[in-house]
């Protein structure tokens, strides 16, 4: 079910991403202040936006699981969250590189995107720990969903509060202000954003398809062979 159209999607993703980064390197002008380093913006910000959406989506899936008690929603939440977590690491790394390249420091406390992501990353790092610490798989799914809802609501609030906290006289143009960008930069940025979103969706579908296939095989084995041994030991990932 998830596997349908996966190949077309993957192709589309590859095309969009290649187009976006080709544009970044060969077409868009260098930033007046920061030079070449600023180009990391086209990687950093799309990652951040997609990750934020992914975390919120995880929260929505978690809420659906709590409402319907259907394990598949928990799986969707799990995949969305751990893909977003990977992107979050990417945000922190690219942000750090940019900070060092443009401003000479490996970290900037007055860059709200970076700071919020640090907090969000630390929060979601507990997701797997929480899952692993509950053995009963229904309860694990339920508690994970509660976490997903709580954390998903937290992400936008946290971003808003952190942003309020740092007083900006000269906002560094890494991520927060996309207004005032010349046309070519905006176009490239949008294409990069689209590519990143497609990448997320493709990876998500891929992983869902893979996990569903594993679950189906297990169900078949259980039915045909009565093979209870096919069940995994204690795991943090949802088992359908």
């Amino acid at each position: 079910m998830h596997g349908k159209g996966l190949r077309t999607l993957a192709l589309l993703t590859a095309l969009t991403l290649t187009a976006a980064y080709a544009l970044v390197f060969f077409w868009t002008p260098n930033d007046a202040d920061q030079g070449f380093v600023q180009k990391i913006f086209y990687l950093h910000v799309p990652m951040a936006i997609v990750a934020l959406c992914g975390f919120v989506a995880g929260g929505i899936f978690g809420a659906m699981h709590l409402r319907t008690r259907d394990g598949r929603w928990d799986l969707r939440a799990y995949v969305a969250i751990h893909l977003s977590q990977i992107l979050a690491v990417g945000v922190l790394v690219t942000g750090s590189i940019w900070a060092k390249g443009a401003w000479g420091h490996w970290w900037l406390w007055d860059e709200p995107m970076l700071v919020s992501f640090l907090i969000v990353f630390l929060l979601y790092a507990t997701y797997q720990v929480l899952r692993f610490s509950i053995e009963d798989r229904e309860r694990q799914a339920r508690y994970a969903s509660v976490f997903a809802v709580l954390a998903g609501a937290f992400v936008p609030i946290n971003f808003a509060v952190v942003r309020m906290a740092e007083s900006y006289v000269h906002p560094r143009t890494l991520g927060t202000t996309t207004g005032g960008m010349p046309g070519e930069m905006m176009l490239t940025f949008l294409i990069a954003l689209a590519g990143m979103a497609l990448l997320f969706v493709t990876l998500w579908k891929y992983e869902m398809a893979s996990k569903n296939a594993v679950a189906e095989v297990r169900a078949l084995r259980l039915r045909l062979l009565g093979d209870d041994d096919a069940l995994p030991r204690r795991t943090a990932a949802p088992t359908l």
Partner: protein, 227 residues
Amino acid sequence: MDEPAIELAGLGRRFGERTALRDVTLTVPAGATLVVLGPNGAGKSTLLRVLAGLLRPHAGTARVLGHPLPQEGWAVRGRIGLLAHEPMLYRDLTPRENLRFHGRLHGVGRERVEEVLEAVGMTARADDPVATLSRGMVQRVAAARAVLHDPELLLLDEPLANLDPAASELLEPLVGRASGRTRVVTSHDPAGGLAGADLALGLRGGRPAICAPAAEVAAADATALYA
């Protein structure tokens, strides 16, 4: 009260990958006593907890006091009394304080608390922290807690386990057959358990090995469950 107190059909419950109960089907009329026999780990306590509404069934259907569980679990809360291995009492509070607390949760007043304290013979020690009481006394207070709100259905997990004969006699009118309530009692005593019951359910490995009126079950069959 024509409606049976308990109706189970194909009831199942698992914990992770382990199946604790499977295919339990029975009907208990109002006012009757069902004895549940079986070795440790057979699923007796699990069955009680499902009937109490603390665990939701994973298979089959359950109707308790005319309401399907878990959909209408809220309708039967407060009409069931559970006396389990855990006394459900706060060790640092006194019996009186514990009972008053439970009373408030169930909308029961102070006079009733004093009544049950008297009935289980604990008025003298009602103001000593539960931690200072002997196991038998704790059991008595737990029994008081179970009947405080005058439940229609009593679920008793080896209720007389820690009690001396005098105490057992004391509790008989409250939680025994004489109380007139519908009761589900687990027991490790095949002969005694069968004698005091109308229906018998013998569990082995979560499955019902015996399910019949108590009078038709021979004590030997019940003992065979432990083999």
